[in-house]
């Protein structure tokens, strides 16, 4: 893979700030290791989070792709729900990819599973259909430069509606929102961690950095 120099590492002062950031990836189930590799390539410390106590000291947290019913069950089983709310409330940046987007939603169009309500969005699971309907697409991502972003959709969800203060930052050609941001919260219906393009990870790192500065 060709590594893109991170925009935020262009001078040494900022490099110091970056080197102090610590991002966790929820490692209960799914493709958490791909996220960790992507952050490490960007020079960011990234760790697996399997217990709520491991949220302490993190500046950002990613809930990865996986099976949303499984991840929600394990989150509740191991006592993560209240701790995740506390983490976001104290300014920690949060990013959900695919299953992670479902997990952090306020509401789902399905009766199951019960999402955590960490972001004011309503999400439809498996919106495009079954695995044979999985696809790739390219589109612009508001706030990310360098041309269209190649996105992999695997049994993917879409955002049906957003609450006040939630910005849609990427859409499919038919207008369906597939990336949304609200302050320190980001959700993408696709999997930037499965490509070689690290621009969405860099975008999240910039969010994490903003949050770390505010605190």
């Amino acid at each position: 893979m060709v590594e893109t120099p991170s925009v935020s590492r262009q001078n040494s002062g900022e490099a110091d700030e970056i080197s102090q950031l610590k991002i966790g990836v929820l490692a209960l189930q799914g493709d958490f290791i791909e996220h960790i590799h992507m952050f490490r390539k960007l020079g960011i410390e990234a760790v697996e989070v399997r217990k709520p106590s491991q949220l302490a000291g993190l500046d950002g947290l990613v809930i990865p792709g996986g099976e949303s019913t499984t991840i929600v069950k394990l989150i509740n089983m191991f006592g993560f729900a209240a701790e995740l709310h506390a983490f976001v409330d104290r300014g920690g940046a949060l990013w959900g990819t695919c299953a992670g987007m479902i997990v952090i939603a306020r509401e789902l169009t399905d009766p199951y599973p019960e999402p955590l309500g960490l972001m004011d969005i309503c999400v439809s699971r498996n919106w495009f259909g079954r695995q044979v309907d999985s696809f790739e697409d390219q589109f612009e991502f508001n706030g990310i430069e360098g041309g269209p972003f190649l996105a992999v959709f695997i049994r993917a969800p879409v955002v049906e509606s957003v609450g006040d203060g939630v910005d849609v930052i990427a859409r499919l050609a038919d207008g369906k929102p597939v990336a949304v941001r609200s302050g320190n919260r980001l959700a993408t219906a696709f999997h930037p961690e499965l490509t070689d393009d690290s621009r969405v990870h860099e975008y999240f790192v910039a969010m994490v950095k903003e949050g770390a500065t505010v605190r």
Partner: protein
């Protein structure tokens, strides 16, 4: 960086997929989508189910996927006869009962059973030695399908042959329907040990190694370079307890299939839940001790080494 590059093609199998697309046949499937679904299953448990009710129990317990079957392997073993693809009505019933991905089995080499499964909307096809093989020499050409395939393997050469044919996920075979973990351990150690060996070989030695393994040379090169299989690797065949699942994870697989081990145990919902938890916290003995308590009896076991040769499912596949 070229944002329109296709990362799937940076792997040897991505190159195969690209060659296939650019060849005389129309594009079927996309390597990154097919192997990507397996990435989403990692750290998870895939459970065999024979009814929609069992599928619900599995989903509620946190299974990442279910395998829709007419009989679990231990019953196939007991009943004998020819084991075939499941009835489409049964598969439909299970697809309609759950929101997680549904897998189903086709016989080795039986590409028409696979075509039927794809038409039914099955999310992953297991070309499986648990069913009676339909072809004594050839496996399905999995590049011809948009539906991804998982295949069994007992060693690295077999795993790489299946990947060369287009399998987007591998599971070590173990010995299905026994509840005896020994062959699952043997096969996982075989695959992972051979990977470690190739990783440390001199490049000059790789062609001979490819010849000895009976494996595609470009995939041997990729294993040498990356130190891992080009696709996700689960364990199967004999997992019956949370400790069994954690053992396989610690040995180095990325998730587990549990066949007869759940619905042939005394308390399936509790066993299913415990195996899911153990697969997440496989490296935490204190957690595993708690998880292993009070589960009732595991499935009745059958010692794999006492099986006559003609009943060893691991021998099926070429």
């Amino acid at each position: 960086m070229d944002s329109t590059s296709t990362p799937g093609t940076s792997t040897a199998n991505g190159t195969h997929a690209k060659a296939w697309r650019e060849g005389s046949k129309p594009e079927v499937g996309n390597w990154r989508e097919k192997s990507g679904l397996a990435q989403m299953l990692k750290g998870g448990v895939i459970m065999d189910v024979v009814t929609p009710d069992q599928a619900k129990i599995a989903e509620d317990a946190g299974a990442v996927s279910v395998m829709a079957l007419e009989r679990v392997p231990s019953d196939i073993r007991r009943d004998g006869g020819v084991a075939r693809m499941s009835d489409p009505d049964l598969i439909d019933g299970i697809i309609n009962a759950v929101s997680i991905p549904v897998m189903a089995k086709a016989r080795i080499g039986h590409f028409v059973e696979a075509q039927v499964l794809e038409a039914l909307g099955v999310d992953y096809c297991d070309e499986s030695e648990v069913l009676t093989p339909a072809d004594k020499a050839y496996h399905i050409n999995k590049w011809e399908f948009k539906m991804p395939f998982v295949c069994g393997a007992t060693n690295l050469g077999e795993a790489l042959r299946r990947i060369g044919e287009g399998a987007a996920m591998i599971r070590t075979k173990g010995e299905a329907g026994t509840g005896d973990i020994v062959n699952a351990v043997t096969h996982a150690r075989e695959v992972l040990g051979e990977i470690r060996k190739i990783q440390h070989m001199d490049e000059q030695e790789l062609m001979t190694e490819a010849k000895n393994l009976g494996a595609p040379f470009d995939l041997v090169l990729e294993v040498h370079r990356t130190g891992k299989l080009p696709v996700v690797n689960f364990a199967a065949g004999g997992i019956a307890t949370p400790a069994d699942a954690a053992l396989m994870m610690q040995i180095g697989v990325e998730g587990v299939f549990v066949g007869s081990g759940i619905f042939k145990s005394e308390n399936p919902p509790m066993m299913a839940d415990a195996i899911v938890r153990a697969t997440t916290h496989y490296n935490d003995p204190d957690m595993l001790a708690e998880i292993s308590r009070g589960l009732g009896d595991a499935m009745a076991g059958l010692e794999a080494s006492k099986l006559p040769d003609d009943q060893r499912l691991e021998k099926r596949g070429w």
